[in-house]
Symmetry: C2
Subunit: 135 residues, 2 copies
DNA sequence: ACTCATATTGACAATCATTATCAATAAGCC
DNA sequence: GGCTTATTGATAATGATTGTCAATATGAGT
């Protein structure tokens, strides 16, 4: 019952590359659409599976958008960080938040909570999308 | 196109009360089940609508669980705030985070983002659950 | 209390992201 | 080249949420 052997398929690699060519967070559906438009016959379920694998292998970051979608992004920095995300085009900026890290620790400790984790994401409209939205 | 007048129905009040009788975050489905078990013939769609209204009226807090469900909770303190939640028993503490509010605004503005929103939640083990977990 | 214009309800259908099926395929190993 | 079995992908299934719309109830006006 050891770890089931992983195999290398062009599908996995295609998803990895497609993620890498994208700056922001993308949904599985969107990534699948991009791949198909690029001529790949890859299946939707496979994209979902590949993204889930990449996320558990810490090769991709994942978060849920305000409307419940699961979004993925190629992992650039390996350390702990947070994101500023355009909810229109997906443009993402990695942000440091030392003050927030400390605050989270403190507030948890103050109330006797242990093993504290936190979810901190900022969503907005990037400069470009803000202009577009202004007709 | 002024604001459409709101009417008071026993359904709205039932949802409000059911929320108040619950300490932690609950899903619309769960709250509907509780109400029906209590003898109320309220409809599921109505519970969804009532909860959405309460949330927009800042009478209830909402957040999405790690698996994508929308959860609601009666609001004890008024105004914008965040939550410290025990991931074992659901105990919830409302927390102020003025520093985080300012940080979120600044970081968004610094990168030219507008209409910034943020998701900030702290999950951990409360004091009681920490003791239990210590065998 | 009666009327009326309309906000609200609720059973049900529709949507939408995600997951489960499962036969067909292909990766890695001999 | 064969064998084992992880992987794929078309499709069905799931499950939470939202839309539909006729029937109902609310609140203001009389
Ligand atoms: Zn944008
Ligand atoms: Zn952090
Ligand atoms: Zn607890
Ligand atoms: Zn805040």
């Amino acid at each position: 019952m050891s770890t089931p052997a992983k195999r290398n398929t062009w599908q996995r690699e295609a998803v990895r590359e497609a993620l890498g060519h994208n700056d922001g967070f993308v949904s599985a559906q969107a990534l699948h659409a991009v791949l198909r438009e690029g001529g790949s016959p890859i299946g939707l379920a496979t994209v979902y599976r590949a993204l889930a694998d990449l996320a558990t292998a810490d090769e991709a970051d994942s978060l849920q958008s305000p409307d419940g979608e699961n979004l993925f992004r190629a992992c650039t920095s390996s350390g702990h960080h947070h994101h500023l995300i355009c909810r229109s085009c997906g443009l993402t900026v990695e942000i440091e938040a030392h003050a927030v890290e400390a605050w989270a620790q403190d507030v948890a400790a103050e109330h006797g909570f242990t093993a504290a984790q936190h979810v901190v994401d900022v969503f907005g409209l990037c400069a470009a999308c803000t202009k577009l939205a202004a007709h």
